[in-house]
Symmetry: C2
Subunit: 353 residues, 2 copies
């Protein structure tokens, strides 16, 4: 479904975008759905975001409680980063089966929260057959911020930038599906049966870590909030889908150069060894948790000095195109993850196509 | 376990109170866990609460989506009421299986939210094998409120009051377990095999509604917030356990008169027909979602004029006692629901004892 770029209505229910568009059109949602987090209160003094991690849906059921906790925080904080906010308070809803090591989970959660200045201020506990953790995070303004970041502020001519590499998390997921594990004490391990070539070990370890323990780009988001203008969101469902979202919100098109998409070291050999096509991984692998943003061209160099990579330009025409080697252009399909359609553990696009 | 009042450490994990006490002692939670919602931000301008509804844990799996939505809102707003706050913004995390009628769920959620002035401002959607809904609600001050309500402000000599009847929700749960259902269109229905006597029909219907669609006491909470002093919380896990919590937080004891606990009309005959002991239902049935609060004796009459019932007195001695007919006193056991120990659908205390 996803890789073809066609939108079909599943007989088992509608897709996420249609549902969210319907919700956003209703008065009782205040017309404010759509960004990575909601702003609320007089003078929009805070942002609020909520994200969940469910065993068997977002991670393999035997993931260590410490890793679940850190991943839950990281994914929420990536939304806070995408608003240009600083995390302040968190509220947890945790359901877990009997015997779940709550203290290990909470110890890791609180340690990781404190690292980011986040206070766990409340929550709700329940028992359930599987782990279901949902975190609500409230963010506030950084001291020098001028604004919240929004996805609808791209203008034709803007530079399009990525805060980090893409595709690596999808490689990590594939390795986890083949038995790679991350234990707090032992680091990343691979099953002997995988026969991973030693030359790929380093890239493979990094991919597993990147998938399980993403690093939210809070500093970059905070810096973007000091700029006057430009759209931003975090790449959770694939850079292609998230760029479509940014352009749809801003009423613009875009041209992205495939060769400029930043890849981690060892990306191509590892993808090849896993038998995966690099392009769908880069464009639609998802869970990259880097910021995708636009800036006026004069400010792009300031962002690249901070490690971001220029990948394309915002265009007036509504088309979203991928520029290949030699300047050939083709439509960039809206491929990536749909939270309502997907089932089982998240799969890389190549396996879903 | 629960009805005996003894606290045992389960081999399958610790209990909720021990875990929450440990959490509250850690610096990264800010020492603020314990009330029904958290206050946060400069000058504590808002409260935040989070509560979940999980299929098979908090409700029977075939519950209609409209009822799940209304129950989710009601249970969260009961916490907001217990803080003396007015609901303002909600954030939803919803995981549901393929084919779940999202629009029916959201239509009911938004209609019920709007009724209480609550805006759905954001959320997160996922697929999962069962329905898991978690709602975070932000509340603000009522215009005439002087304070947030807290559970640690009871003083010896205070009157103890209940905002409504107890035990009815537990009867309703028992009826649901025996096949009673609530359909938005058809109202409460009972299976023919139940052979419910016609004289109990009215009380039974009301009990099922009370269990599935509790009414948060927002007005009463708002009024309490205009008073200078007094502790409050909402009765979610049974009046006995919640009174223990209030007294532990306030450093007091209490004496409650069994005969003063307000029962709904037809409570005893319905309990008898269901083969359930009335006393554990009243004291530990739980999910009553009425406010349990204390006030200086001079203000108790103002509360009873608003429909609350005087049930006892706060005492200096740390004992929590139940006063029976003829003035006989016995210790009131800390019985009720434990969110970590319980499994399967919530059961009335009599079935767990």
């Amino acid at each position: 479904m996803a890789a073809s770029g066609r939108r079909t209505r599943s007989p088992r229910g509608e897709d996420e975008r249609t549902l969210v568009a319907w919700l956003a059109s209703l008065p009782a949602t205040g017309g404010r759905l759509g960004d990575d987090a909601a702003t609320f209160a007089a003078r929009a003094a805070h942002v609020v975001t909520v994200d969940s991690q469910i065993a068997g849906v977002h991670f393999v059921p035997d993931l260590e409680p410490e890793v679940i906790a850190r991943r839950l925080i990281a994914i929420n904080l990536s939304d806070v980063a995408a608003m240009g906010a600083r995390p302040s308070h968190a509220f947890l809803a945790l359901a877990a089966p009997p015997g779940f090591p709550h203290r290990r989970f909470f110890t890791a959660l609180l340690r990781h929260a404190a690292k980011h200045g986040l206070l766990l201020a409340g929550g709700d506990l329940a028992r359930a057959p599987q782990v279901y953790a949902s975190l609500t995070v409230i963010g506030e303004r950084w001291p020098r911020a001028r604004r919240w970041l929004r996805r609808d502020e791209a203008r034709p001519g803007d530079a399009i930038l990525l805060g980090g590499t893409v595709g690596e998390s999808a490689l990590g997921l594939e390795l986890v599906r083949r038995g790679a594990r991350l234990a707090s004490a032992r680091g990343v391990t691979f099953p002997r049966s995988l026969r991973l070539p030693p030359g790929l070990l380093r890239a493979a370890r990094r991919a597993v870590r990147r998938h399980l323990l993403p690093e939210p780009q809070l500093e970059l988001g905070g810096w973007l909030a000091t700029r006057r203008r430009g759209a931003a969101l975090d790449v959770s469902d694939g850079v292609a889908r998230d760029l479509h979202r940014l352009c749809a919100a801003s009423g613009t098109g875009a041209a992205v150069e495939l060769e400029r998409l930043p890849r981690p070291a060892g990306f191509e050999p590892l993808a090849a060894w896993l038998g995966l096509e690099p392009r769908p991984l880069l464009l639609g692998g998802g869970e990259d948790y880097v910021l995708l943003f636009t800036l006026p061209p004069s400010e792009a160099a300031l962002a690249t000095q901070r490690g971001a990579r220029l990948i394309g330009r915002v265009e007036r025409a509504p088309a979203i195109t991928l520029v290949l080697g030699g300047g050939r252009r083709e439509p960039l399909p809206d491929l990536g993850w749909d939270n309502l359609r997907a089932h089982g553990a998240r799969e890389p696009v190549s396996a879903r196509a």
